[in-house]
């Protein structure tokens, strides 16, 4: 068993995903299969290999610090599920 049902619950919490009981069971089995498959990477000795995170060598891309047009408050808020005035409205964070 690579990942237990309890770990699945913990990871779901980290990912901010509410899962139904049925989903949890199915995911535990599927994640186990996938993680077992991924284990084949341990056949390779990679001790001295530098990890590659980007296939094309890029360095920081800078531009001149000039002010340009942005999309503005109205269109920034246009897709929001709930707004009040110029703000995004969310359920209460603290009691």
């Amino acid at each position: 068993m690579k990942i237990s049902p309890q770990e699945v619950e913990y990871v779901a919490h980290l990912a901010r995903l509410e899962l139904a009981e049925e989903e949890k069971g199915k995911l535990t089995a599927q994640l186990n299969n996938i993680l077992i498959y991924i284990d084949k990477l341990n056949e390779l000795d990679t001790g001295s290999v530098t990890p590659l995170s980007h296939a094309i060598a890029v360095t920081n891309a800078f531009r001149e610090d000039t002010v340009e047009d942005s999309i503005g408050t109205e269109s920034s808020l246009a897709n929001a599920p709930d707004i009040r005035g110029d703000f995004f409205r969310v359920p209460k964070v603290i009691d």
């Binding site: 990942i3 770990e7 699945v8 990871v11 779901a12 919490h13 980290l14 990912a15 901010r16 995903l17 509410e18 899962l19 139904a20 989903e23 995911l27 599927q30 994640l31 299969n33 996938i34 993680l35 498959y37 991924i38 084949k40 990477l41 341990n42 390779l44 990679t46 290999v49 530098t50 990890p51 590659l52 995170s53 980007h54 296939a55 094309i56 890029v58 920081n60 891309a61 531009r63 999309i71 269109s75 920034s76 246009a78 897709n79 929001a80 599920p81 709930d82 995004f88 969310v90 359920p91 209460k92 964070v93």
Partner: protein, 485 residues
Amino acid sequence: MHFNQLTIHELQKKIKEGSATATQITESVFSRIDAVEERVHSYIRLMKEGALADAAKADEDIQKGDIKPLTGIPVALKDILCTKGTLTTCGSRILHNFIPPYNATVVEKLKAAGAIFVGKANMDEFAMGSSTETSCFGPTRNPWDLERIPGGSSGGSAAAVAADECIASLGSDTGGSIRQPAALCGVIGMKPTYGRVSRFGLIAFASSLDQIGPFTKDVEDCAIMMNVLAGYDPKESTSVDMAVPDYREFVGRDIKGWKIGIPKEYFIEGIDPEVTAAIKKAISVIEQSGGQCVDISLPHTQYCVAVYYIIAPAEASSNLARYDGVRYGFRATDVRELLEMYKKSRGQGFGAEVKRRVMIGTYALSAGYYDAYYKKGSQVRALIKKDFEEAFKQCDVILTPTTPTPAFKIGEKTDDPLQMYLSDVFTISANLAGIPGVSVPCGYSSGGLPIGLQFLAGHFEEGKLIQVSSAYETNAKIEKRRPAL
């Protein structure tokens, strides 16, 4: 005249001669859509009104002699590309009502080149899938056999071109999502080099792998589209500031003296014998065209899928953290506090495959597992890239099958994620190494399903891919069939 069946270059010729108008071409595309879309379901949303208005404007330009590379050409856009003022859902419930405030750079570029937008093409949810079955709007069907999948994740874009519901389209490719559906639908699909085409306005899946590219009906059209799409974008810091050649100049050139690498690791057990036979035939066409086939080895090929299923979900779990029900998209109702709102909105807004990948990615990046998964995967990724660097010392381009089998049946692999992932076994390596690849039709199975051939080249060598594909297309003389819809 069925204008919708023609290529970009054929239509441009007709427009210049005055034997076709943008309005006629656009109307022919929409009448085809009226006839077949109910069965194929290539689109999530049609943009008919805007398309006809743009076609009328294009006709005015044509009258004035102002004809740009895509003037009057109806093009479909994968619904992962932001279109200002037009719903962009990424095939997901969580973005079911999202109207972008800006256009993706590629959308701006197509517009500036005169293209007419037909609609937003169906796709796997957040581009996670190989069959277009994970779309929350229901699956797209393969125009060649409606019981089968069109491939994915850009299945709608591929099916729309194959069914003549547009002239060309755009897709995105993170592990094969352009090349695999192109192969299964019998059209051309190119994934450019990472950094060749701006990703600005492409809804992010795995940012170190994602790349936008075209679907077309022939190789010359692919070159025409690449001329429009390629180039540096100051809005996208991973796009590469490097001169773009005229890709059309590579069309029709021969490949005499070229070395074509045949990697032994891509001819494994489990490949459909009809695919093997079609590829063997393609190899002989390449040799008759003056290319010399050489055996090469890409020794880490068998690890590509495992590496991909660490790196892509890890990046996805980070990219998809933005869907929190606060600023846009779906928000669960009847929640009392913030954490509950996040969890319910994401739990109800994402489909099963997206949740699976977010879970894998979050797990792989979580404390205690990072070294074993993400770091290990990134190290093996370095080895895979090195395999290609060594291989391209011995050959100009590499030839492989695009997929191990022709299109499979709808529902066949939905219960077994790992089997679904393995259908991308030949395409994932190009994304991990950042190199360009193209799928070109190379025949049909005995059941009449298209089979695809993949060419891979070194970084920024799209010109070579156009050249070898063009030579192959000319000399293979693959019988031109149309799906019987």
